[in-house]
Subunit: 340 residues, 3 copies
Amino acid sequence: MEFTLGQVAEILQGKVEGDENQKVSRLDKIQEGKAGGISFLANEKYTPFIYETAATAVIVSNTFVPTKPLKTNLIRVEDAYTGFTMLLEAYAMMMKSSVVGIEEPSYMDSSSQMGEHAYRGAFSYIGKNCKIGTSVKLYSHVHIGDRVQIGDNTIIHTGAKICADTIIGNNCEIHPGAVIGSDGFGFAPQQDGTYKAIPQIGNVILEDNVSVGANSTIDCATMGSTLIKKGAKIDNMVQIAHNVIIGENTVIASQTGISGSTEIGKNCVIAGKAGIVGHIKIADNTTIGANTGVSKSIPTPGTTLFGYIGFDMKNFLKSYSLFKKLGSIEDRIRELEKKQ
Amino acid sequence: MEFTLGQVAEILQGKVEGDENQKVSRLDKIQEGKAGGISFLANEKYTPFIYETAATAVIVSNTFVPTKPLKTNLIRVEDAYTGFTMLLEAYAMMMKSSVVGIEEPSYMDSSSQMGEHAYRGAFSYIGKNCKIGTSVKLYSHVHIGDRVQIGDNTIIHTGAKICADTIIGNNCEIHPGAVIGSDGFGFAPQQDGTYKAIPQIGNVILEDNVSVGANSTIDCATMGSTLIKKGAKIDNMVQIAHNVIIGENTVIASQTGISGSTEIGKNCVIAGKAGIVGHIKIADNTTIGANTGVSKSIPTPGTTLFGYIGFDMKNFLKSYSLFKKLGSIEDRIRELEKKQ
Amino acid sequence: MEFTLGQVAEILQGKVEGDENQKVSRLDKIQEGKAGGISFLANEKYTPFIYETAATAVIVSNTFVPTKPLKTNLIRVEDAYTGFTMLLEAYAMMMKSSVVGIEEPSYMDSSSQMGEHAYRGAFSYIGKNCKIGTSVKLYSHVHIGDRVQIGDNTIIHTGAKICADTIIGNNCEIHPGAVIGSDGFGFAPQQDGTYKAIPQIGNVILEDNVSVGANSTIDCATMGSTLIKKGAKIDNMVQIAHNVIIGENTVIASQTGISGSTEIGKNCVIAGKAGIVGHIKIADNTTIGANTGVSKSIPTPGTTLFGYIGFDMKNFLKSYSLFKKLGSIEDRIRELEKKQ
């Protein structure tokens, strides 16, 4: 879809400096701008690019004063970043062609219900006794197990698997290949050295506005519920074991793993590849660094942890810088020993 | 389904203390007990909850002596934990509505056979020349490649992919999204810096009673077989490379990775996020800690390893506690140097 | 399929020593050789096995001189390893039964095109406005989103998900369950503590000869493209975030994660479970060890890194060996302190 710069300026309540009849159909980064694209300049670091970009137009803040001649058109707005974000959202909305309807073949058991404005992609599957809200999108190869409940406006992307008895709120987004509600990993050792599976009869609850990344796995509870509270954002390939609780608005980056029955507070930030043992409690507003191991409860809100077994980040980095020099440190001890 | 407490007591060969006509339809944790649910008390730590729980009944051992008034009914049995486990299994059996039959559309090549009491979910796929035993369940979106063999009573959950030539025993359970028999990662470097794929012509064999977690991947052998021996239990998102051998009853937790041609003994316990290099041999009964790296063979059965490059756990923790204080340790050395 | 040893020798331009009418139908490792199989001997370490193997024949180099009586037939060739590799490739070619045709039900929007010699497995899905080249294979449960372009001879294995707007080159191979083009993990924090998803409007580009392993995830760019350059080989369960660039012929082993906007050079080798932070640049020919963390740019080509926060491998191992002895090192300091 094409827009004139005049139309874009109108949407953004801004002003064109240049030819307002030129047309754009794409959003570009300023350093990669090409004809037909529109970019933005919000960070001074990128200012040099505005004099060279081939983008048809650049959104700038009213305060921007060029220091060299410009080859591009400008659209001046109150705040360039906000303006660009508005444009980005409008664009994304248009691209997410609001798919509606049922592609065949798809499968829904007759005991299940799905609200209005639904999309069911070809080869999507809905088991028995499910209740699915309005404006829900189920892409191709989605599996919805028996007795699953899903709120309004939730999107389940291609190939995601929602196992039996899962409850999902409104405005959630489950990315491709994620598995919600698989059996927890619980086995009782027998006297002959074998293991017997412990029945996993609980479920998973995702509250509203939860996002789960591609190929992540969230196990059902042994009993009760594995609970992801509202607004939590989970990246790709994150493993969440049975009976874990994740607090509101907590963000968990890729490849992190959280073991069974651990409870994470709200507004925490957990970086990639972190590993958290089972049966502990992490306070609100905790920050856990990349690849950090957490082996015991964190009672104090606002703590920051880093390291193989995480502790205070500044101290970890101090210790690690000395670890790198352990060879010369030992030399110094040997020197002292000689001189005795 | 509802049961009276009298009926439950009969199943468990126990005795009701209270109203045996009250009904329960759910299993709850004692600390989360609600009306209509039945809980159990087996761990003294949880004793305080029995005086407050809203559960309709609690299963207790014959030896339990209340020290305060109780609001809940009791079912007394020989051993409360065993009793509850029996109930759990009966409940799980009922919930796993024993699905049987063929949902359409599903796909099975005419050269393949599947035994009696089969379940094939909609959109399940079976390629050419497969032999599948009796009472096997293939959920929606399962892929069974050409020439796959599967024993009796095995369950393949939604979206799991069993690639060509894989052999799976009896009573196995493959969880959603797991991939068994994908190509091993083998590339021959060429003189121009590119890589050429080495054909992976082997397969994967899972013996009886093996469990593979959601979104785990087990690669086929370059030649011969990647072998998971009977009773091994593998959690979610575990990566097992080509030609690996996993011993009987070995348990591997989530996000662990095992590189090519490594052989793990029997009855080992490997915690989450461990990483094991290729071409080594791990003795029976080895315990490998969470996030532990293993870079060489472990010849002695019963070894316990922990750490970035794993060694004896107690020593690792001693070293790590000193690592945390390296700053002050260096200060002490500096002090000694000054005083010379 | 069976071949006489005479036929095999003809293919390999070699000579039979023994009975050229005996037949083989399988490739075996020399230490696991069985009647009806053919093995090879290229590494001296395996020489003892040639006197004991039950394989019907063994391929050896012309220079091989037996020192004991042999029970097996020989096929002598210029170079045994090259000969065996030729056989392996011929075998793999035959096994990959060159599937062609359309299994039903499958789904392709009428606006999309697919070239000649196509294979579309049952339950494969192709969205709107896709352009797919000749001799492309899409196995069962593959999802191809809207506006995807795929070059010639590319294979997409069962259950892989190629999201909207992805561009894939010629001769690529995408293994089962991989997700290409899922949304990047980008959320803007709001004043009330919640997060708002930042629209991810970019795409993923895979150039020619790229391989992506089972259950790996490659996110689309926020704007612009996540780019995997030609010949890059990516193992299972690797996470590649939005806007990452991977250079030509770079190899990345399993469970590695690369954060947003990082650029990896060409001909790098990245071992398993490595973690690389976002917004950095890794020079060409860098080697990153297993489980190594990389927290800043590597400007010098040919660098080798290892460790929790990676540095020079030899120095890391020196420091780690002293870390193991930190207890006794502290004892020595204490001793020195006493003697003052």
